[in-house]
Symmetry: C2
Subunit: 347 residues, 2 copies
Amino acid sequence: MTGAGEGGGEGASSLLPVAVDAMGGDRAPDEIVAGARLAAAELGRPVALVGRPQAIEAVEGGAGGLEVMAASEVIAMDEDPAQGVRRKKDSSLVRAAEAVRDGRASAMVSAGNTGATMASALLRMGRLPGVARPAIATPIPVPGSTPTVLIDAGANAECSPPWLVQFAQMGSAFARERFGLAEPRVGLLSVGEEPTKGNTLVKETHELLTRTPGIRFVGNVEGRSILSDAVDVVVTDGFTGNVALKTLEGSLRFLVNAVLGAFSSSEEAKRAAQVLLPALAPVVDELDPDSTGGAMLLGVDGVCIISHGSSSARAIVNAVRVAHDMVERGLVGALRDAVGNPVGSRR
Amino acid sequence: MTGAGEGGGEGASSLLPVAVDAMGGDRAPDEIVAGARLAAAELGRPVALVGRPQAIEAVEGGAGGLEVMAASEVIAMDEDPAQGVRRKKDSSLVRAAEAVRDGRASAMVSAGNTGATMASALLRMGRLPGVARPAIATPIPVPGSTPTVLIDAGANAECSPPWLVQFAQMGSAFARERFGLAEPRVGLLSVGEEPTKGNTLVKETHELLTRTPGIRFVGNVEGRSILSDAVDVVVTDGFTGNVALKTLEGSLRFLVNAVLGAFSSSEEAKRAAQVLLPALAPVVDELDPDSTGGAMLLGVDGVCIISHGSSSARAIVNAVRVAHDMVERGLVGALRDAVGNPVGSRR
């Protein structure tokens, strides 16, 4: 086992390329390939494209000198994830995960089928020892503050209290490595701040979290705290987390569209908007999912970034940057330590 | 039992006052009493204030000629709901619910402790026959379209599939009576549109809803559909519903504040904002929870409106208007029919 991102050996793995799934995403392969080339040029780090060589070369500008890892199959965006991964052994997603497993890539990035990305990473890289279930950590940008890490944002529709405790541990380690927070504040998503509020899962998890060492548990938080600087990590089951994430995205998009509509409602409004855009643009830019670098699957033995399905070239650049950073900072080793495995057990 | 809002007898109950809890809400009693007086004046309908007569008279303008139903106790906003209702039998909330039960009021409105409002209504008015659990229906304003009814928005943290089916039935009846929709489209809140997506509760409920007569089930919807015209009623358990509601409110407030901040960032920006406000104000007004008339507890034998804790006088006016409307339209009878009780079983 030579999985990248081990606690030691960062020097070696950081020279390995980040494997980018060229075939995954609503705008694949064009935006993905363009993003991969940009990432290599801007970051000066190796990037490999995984997918059909012909499709990659057919993109304007082609691979542009990047390594191409050939994969003849594609798992479609709406394909059944488990079936897709089982049947399409030569798919770009499966091959990307294998490249990380086999030490030919330091990390993988995909904007494709989320379920299939998770399944590929889980089946090919394997779980970290002691991890019950990998979970998706999604950084929610909070303009004027560090992002809030929402975990689990959709990997596990049904969870048990001990799993949520591990999500808290992994989310804390991620917030430390990703955003440099020394002691990230961890909140448990509920319907009121009192420990007695919530469903059975939340009440039992609350009790466990109050006596979990190594994390800074600040109690229950409500949905409105996600987009605030009140908390750094919000822990929840993957069903609630995904509903909250999509509700948040939908609300922001709705209001941004309403504002943009008002800005173009007349010639006079358009002129006025020109004055206001400089003050508004940074907020809108920060809220743009393309700027966050994507979500991350925590708990597998390697760095796996799950980008938004609608990822642009810019989103891929940010994802590759984050992937490299997380490899260099030894995220996987930090996660292994966070879930309480004896240090050195697999090194 | 002469509970208001029975399928028949609308003529009589519409002459009864709406009982407004004068002591409930962050801005009680001042804004509540002012709102009740305004409602009576603007709507020309009877309104009664429930609470401490001295506190009501101490408000500027006093009761202003409205009937006062004396209640010596107050259940605090953060008080344990069940305990509060059990111990404070002479509280404004309990007395308001009794007034509806005893046929002295047509409906009740409170901006106070939500749990205690539900408990008072449930214990004093009683459940409608056949209703497993009352649920909170919250209209989410969708500028440019009819509001989306979110049910359950927080009454039941833990739910079973048959309860959710009843929420769908009650939510449909409510959307029909409240917004005049002939065949409201009902969606089930999940993490993907496919019937196979979601947790066990959602998968089992989906199956039941596909064969529930009398509702127009359109399948699973995601969080982003709440603030859209894709669906009229969104069914979920009270935990997920409350998280979604607060996430939505928090996101909108965050972005509205960011926009307002940009609008006042400089003198030039302030002038530009003056040009844009006429186009933006209607959207912001519609999204204001004070304008929706409040949430409604469905499944109890009477009309019970749960207003936002921060309700202003304007919110109370809208709540009283909706309460009167729902009494006149026979909402309670419609709900009784919707959950499948034989017509006339209690008339």
